[in-house]
Each structure stands twice: as structure tokens, then as C-alpha cells.
């Protein structure tokens, strides 16, 4: 009697396992069918053949649709999710050298085809306490290791790569703006309306260049991975005349501003490097060197267009300067 029972029990269990296995197999099959459908959509065989020379000297014939239309430095949205292998990119900004020359802002705008009023890199005028002297703080995206923006994205349009970079895929973005509200550093911008430049098809869209932008989607500083792939510095770092912005690889422990190349760990150790709003636990990958032994007086930063000065009018220090008639 008992034997029968156990037998029955075990067959039941076996059935159960079988069922589980079956259903998981169907799930996998279903998923692969779906993914096949999706990938089919992306590459329709054109029927057109192309002859190519391989590196070892053979001529092969491939379907034209299989050839990547992207120029060498441009990476498709799918590939851009992986990141550059074995890299951990990091930026160090030397506040002692910044005089709000705004060349980083302009270089960035030019490279990313941004308007005069759109900036991935903003320069803030920060005063830590009433006694402290204010300083200019260039603020890119911090490419956090615990990025709140990535956590809240409902579609995975913004993602964290293995090489530390946080990117936005504006082909995937639905424009819910949740990432903008969850970024504590206000690093993200939104494309509120249509602009002619969005229609520019001279180069295909890549999350690595953020060009062309698209209406109703989010954009932000991307650390210029297209430049990094070519072994070049991001545009902000290369366009800064003072060498404020160091960029490099944490794995190699090296950062450079284009003129001098230094050890990242030593730079941080010797100069008291810190990260902005560390207590939020976002673990940024942008470090700051405190504004001590400044190379320029702060006022040099007001040597800019009138409307740019207006952007700092709410800062108490600027209000004081205005009262004294210094600007």
C-alpha cells in the first residue's frame, strides 16, 4: 500500500518536473522566436551582394545588408551597450585651474551639435559656506557606479556600461523624464520640441555620439566614447585651454589632460581629490581637486557674454559683486 503511495508520489513529482521543464523549454523557444522576429526586422536581406577583401587576402561575397553601414568610429545602439573592453573611464577636474572660460562647454556643444543654450557641460559657481571663497565648478554627467537614472528607467533606454560610462539610447527612450527627476546632479536634458537638426541624416544615430538628437527624448553628457575608441580625449578635455579636465582609465591608473599625464591614484591622494555630494551614495566617476592655490582670480570668470553672467544672478556672491559695481 505504502509502496504504491510513494510510487504515485514520485511519478507525480516526475510529472511536475517534466511539466516545469516543458514550460521552460516553451518559454525559451518563445523568447527566441520573438528575438528572431525582432532581428529579422532589423536586417532584411536585400538580395544585393557585395565583394569584400578579408584581412588574409581572400575575396568573399556577402549580402549587402550584412555590411555595417556605420563609419568605423560609430557604434550601433546595440553594440554601444557593451562598452570598451577592460576600461574603467574616470574624469578628474582640477578646480584650481578653472576660470569659466567655457571652452569645454563650447567644444562639447560643437561636437554634439547642441544649440547655444543647450549644454551637457555646465559651469556652476559654488560657495561651500559663507566664509569660503566661491569657485567655478564644471559639471558634466558623473557617470555614477550606482546611477539612480538607470535604476528608474522603465525601458532600459539609459544603461551603465562595463567601462563606467552611462549612455542614453534615444531610439529606445519613451520620454517619461523619470531619469531627469531622479538624477541628483541635474545632468540630463530633454528635447522639448522639434528642431531641424534632428532630421540630419549625414551620419546614423549612435548613443556613443548622441547625434542626431530626437524630439521627446532625453540626452546628456556621454564622455564621448567615439573619441575614446579612437584613443582621443573627450571634447571638453581637449578643448580646455587651462588643462582643467583630466581623463583616463582607472584600470591603467592613468589620467591626462592632453599636456601632462599623471597617475590617477597619486593625483587624488596628493591633491585631496573628492567626489561631489558623496553622501548620496551614487559613487560618481568624476573626481574634483579642491580649488586651492588658484591660478586665476574668480572674477576672471565673469569675462564672458552679458547673458551668461545673467545666469548666475541668483548666487549671493554675484549679487554682492553687482552691488559693488564690479560686474
Amino acid at each position: 500500500m505504502e509502496d504504491k503511495k510513494t510510487e504515485k508520489g514520485s511519478t507525480n513529482r516526475r510529472n511536475f518536473l517534466k511539466l516545469g521543464l516543458m514550460s521552460s523549454v516553451t518559454a525559451v523557444a518563445g523568447a527566441s522566436i520573438i528575438s528572431n522576429l525582432v532581428s529579422d526586422e532589423e536586417t532584411k536581406p536585400s538580395g544585393e551582394k557585395m565583394r569584400l577583401l578579408t584581412p588574409d587576402g581572400k575575396i568573399v561575397e556577402v549580402d549587402a545588408s550584412n555590411v555595417n553601414k556605420y563609419p568605423e568610429a560609430l557604434i550601433t545602439p546595440e553594440e554601444s551597450r557593451k562598452g570598451i573592453p577592460n576600461r574603467k573611464f574616470v574624469m578628474v577636474i582640477d578646480l584650481a585651474k578653472c576660470k569659466n572660460a567655457r571652452k569645454c562647454v563650447e567644444g562639447c556643444q560643437k561636437a554634439h551639435n547642441l544649440d547655444y543654450n543647450e549644454e551637457f557641460m555646465k559651469v556652476q559657481l559654488i560657495q561651500d559656506n559663507p566664509e569660503a571663497s566661491p569657485y567655478w565648478l564644471p559639471k558634466p554627467c558623473f557617470h555614477c557606479d550606482e546611477p539612480p537614472c538607470v535604476t528608474v528607467c522603465p525601458t532600459g533606454a539609459t544603461f551603465k556600461r562595463e567601462d563606467n560610462i552611462v549612455l542614453v539610447d534615444n531610439d529606445r527612450c519613451i520620454g517619461c523624464k523619470f531619469c531627469i527627476t531622479s538624477c541628483p546632479y541635474s545632468a540630463r536634458q530633454f528635447n522639448w520640441g522639434h528642431k531641424d537638426k534632428f532630421d540630419d541624416e549625414s551620419q546614423p544615430y549612435s548613443p556613443e555620439t548622441s547625434v542626431p538628437a530626437a524630439e521627446g527624448t532625453v540626452m546628456k553628457c556621454d564622455f564621448c566614447p567615439d573619441m575614446l575608441r579612437q584613443g582621443k580625449l573627450p571634447h571638453c578635455a581637449s578643448s580646455c585651454p587651462m588643462g582643467v579636465i583630466y581623463f583616463g582609465d582607472k584600470n591603467e591608473d592613468i589620467v591626462t589632460n592632453g599636456e601632462e599625464t599623471v597617475r590617477f591614484s597619486k593625483l587624488i591622494e596628493d591633491r585631496g581629490g573628492y567626489r561631489h555630494l558623496e553622501h548620496l551614495g551614487t559613487k560618481p566617476n568624476v573626481y574634483y581637486l579642491p580649488a586651492v592655490n588658484r591660478q586665476f582670480p574668480l572674477e576672471r570668470g565673469f569675462n564672458v557674454e552679458e547673458d551668461i553672467i545673467e545666469r548666475y544672478k541668483d548666487v549671493p556672491y554675484v549679487q554682492d559683486l553687482k552691488k559693488q559695481g564690479k560686474i
Binding site: 525601458t155 517619461c176 531627469i180 541635474s186 521627446g216 555630494l277
Partner: protein, 447 residues
Amino acid sequence: MNIESRKRELVKEFSPLLEKTTKVSKIWMGVLVAIILVGVYAFFLQLFKGHEVTGMRDNVVWGVYIINFIFFVCLSYSGAFISGILHFYKTPWKNSVSRIVEIITVLSLIIGPIFILLCIGRLDRLHYLFLYPRIQSPITWDIIAIMTDLIGCFIYLYLTFIPDFAILRDHSENAPKWRQKVYKFLAIGYQDTPTQRETLHKITRTMSAMVIALAIVAYTVLAWIFSLTLQPGWNSSIFAPYFIVAGLYSGIAVIIIAMYLIRKYYHLEHYIRKVHFMVGGVILLILSLLYGYFTFSEYFSRWFSHKIHDTNLLNTLFTRYFWQFVLANYIGVLVPVVILFFKKFRSIKSITFASVIAILGLWLNRYLIVVPTLETPYLPIQDTREEFVHYTATWVEWSLSFTGVAAFILLFILIMKLVPIIPMSGIIDYERDNSKKKRTVNPKITE
């Protein structure tokens, strides 16, 4: 007592509500349709020109739309909550209000999510939410919660409608043919036999418990959209219960206003009585005290511990938003409390007035949770063009907001044309129970 003849009587009594449309209500509907048409125009304007036509910009990326979203969705959750409780406990006076509550629940749950769609930059990519879902995102949780809630509420509402559809099917011989057909279809063969009645009651009771649970879950997730971020004004552990209390507060207030309007324009003084307003008033009093307590706790702890970013937020609230803050968090709480606290102040009109104040205050309170927080981020807003710093809603946003309210009222009127606003089956059940009690136990119970 002959139930069939009583049913016929009730249908006769309520059929003018269903079939006749007075001149006043025609004018009302015309006005509502006009408001909605302007809103439709505004919607297409936003669709084709992009979000540029709104007042939202890089710093304040969420505006009036999300406030309306929270407001309507909270209204719906509280409706579900209240309706679930009404159904669960056998309160004798519940019958006259239960349908009002149910309709409020479902309508606001339809209108609320439309407002979140208006916030979305790329409506053409909405399906990406299902194509590339990320379960880590609170938005995904919210979508799951709202959809579950919507389905649950629809089932619940429908269940409560079935007996009335059956009565209408059997007793509206004079009604137009299409109406009879609609009733026949919607009644799904319900014959009011004791077994059917028993089953329906059981299902409805189970659903009402489920709807309460769903409402709490969905509410909480909605509050988490804000409180799970790092923003100084949002990252608060009391947000979920705070939202629940605030939602119930607005829910009760809207129910009282709806009762007042329906009683007045449909002459239902016999069914919606003073006692409903009194009970509603007392519940509103309790909730206004609770809501005031939560609001106080929220701001007091920020003010007392004065972390720098909290202080900055409070500075914004007390300078730029001073009057709004006073209206929302002082007037919006204290006026209802004073009116409702003293028994001699409590009249139908004063309770309705308190409800109106409560709703306006609550809406403004939501505004103060969303907009000033976004205007006071961790890093001060600098190096931004002037017009991107502050938020003012444009006519498009206002128009679409009013469209939401207008659609709510219009749909309410239309549903009232389909089924009587007072559940007939409830009246019959009540009378049947009473007559049973009369016969068996204690005849003194009935009034």
C-alpha cells in the same frame, strides 16, 4: 411583500432619471463637450508641436499633468477603498452612496492615467514599456499596479451593476429597443434566484476585499515614484501612508460634493439624506486631522533637522510659494477642521463647502510637492537660460486639466443615464432583509 411589484415601482420611479434630459442638463453637457473639444485641440497641438507648448522645461520636467495624475489616481484608489469598506460592512445607509463611490472610482481611474500619458515625450513608443520592460523601475511597478487595479475595479463595478441591469431588463417595457437590448446583454442572464443572489454576493464581497488590498498596493507604488528618488522634497519614508491618507481625504470630499450635486439636481432628497452628509462630514474631519498631522510631520522634521538641501526647499516654499503654501497647508486643512469639528457648524451646505476647500487645498498641496522640489535640486540651478528656471503652466496644460474634470463629470452624467444612481437592488435587498427580520426576530429594529 411582493418583490416583483416593488421592482416595477422602483423602475417607474427612476426611469425619468434615465430617459428624460432636462434643458439645464443639456446646457451643462454642451458646456462640458465644449471644454473637452478645446482640450482635444490642445492635445493635438501638443502632439504635433511637442512638449514645447507646455510650461515644463529641463528643471521642472513634470508639471500640472503629473499633479492631475496623482490627484485622479488617488481619488480612484480612495474610491475603491471606501467602496470596498462600504460593501464589506453592512451599514444600513451605504446603499444610496455606494454607486456614486463606485462610479467615481472607475471614472477617475480611466482619466488619471491619461494625464501620465500627456507627460510622456514619445507616445509613439509607448509599447516599448512592454517590449523592453525593466522590472527594477518603479514606473513598471506602477503600470502593473494601475492595470491590475483598473481591471479589478471594472470587475467590481460590473458585479454591483448586474442586479440592477436585470431589474431594468425585466421592467422597462416602455424603454426604447436598444436600451432593452443593452440591459439584456449586460445582465448576463441574472434572474435573481436565491442561489444566483448568494453567489453574486459572495463574489462581490471577495472582490471588495481585493479592491481594498489593490488600492493600498497601487497607492503605495504611486507614492514611491517620488519617494524612491534622492530629491530632498520627495525622499521621505512617510510618503506612502501620506498619499493614502491624502487620497482618502480627497476621495471623501469628492463623494460629498457629488452627493450634494446629485441630490440637488435630481431631487433625490428621499435617498441621499442629511445623515449621509453628517457621516461623511465626520469621516472628512477624521481624515483632515490625519492629513494635517502627516503634512505637519513631513515639513516639521525637515524644518527641525534643517539639512542644507531641505532648508533650501523650505526657503523656496516660504518665499516664492508662500501664499500657495498657506492656502494648501493651512487653509486647506484648518478650514475643513473648524467647520466639521463643531456640531453646530455642520450643515449640508457647510460640509460641502468644507469638501470644496479640502479638494482645492489638496490639489495645491500636490503642486507644492512636485514643482518646488524640482525647482530646488541638490546643485543650485545655474548656467541655465532664464526661461528654464521656473515653471508656469501654459494654457495647453490648463485646458487639458479642465478637460479631465469635464470628462469626469460628463461620463458621470452619461453613466447615470444608463443605470439609476441609487442601486435598486440594494433597496430591495434592504427591504427584504427588513421584512425577514420583522417576521422572525425583532420588529423594533426597522425605523
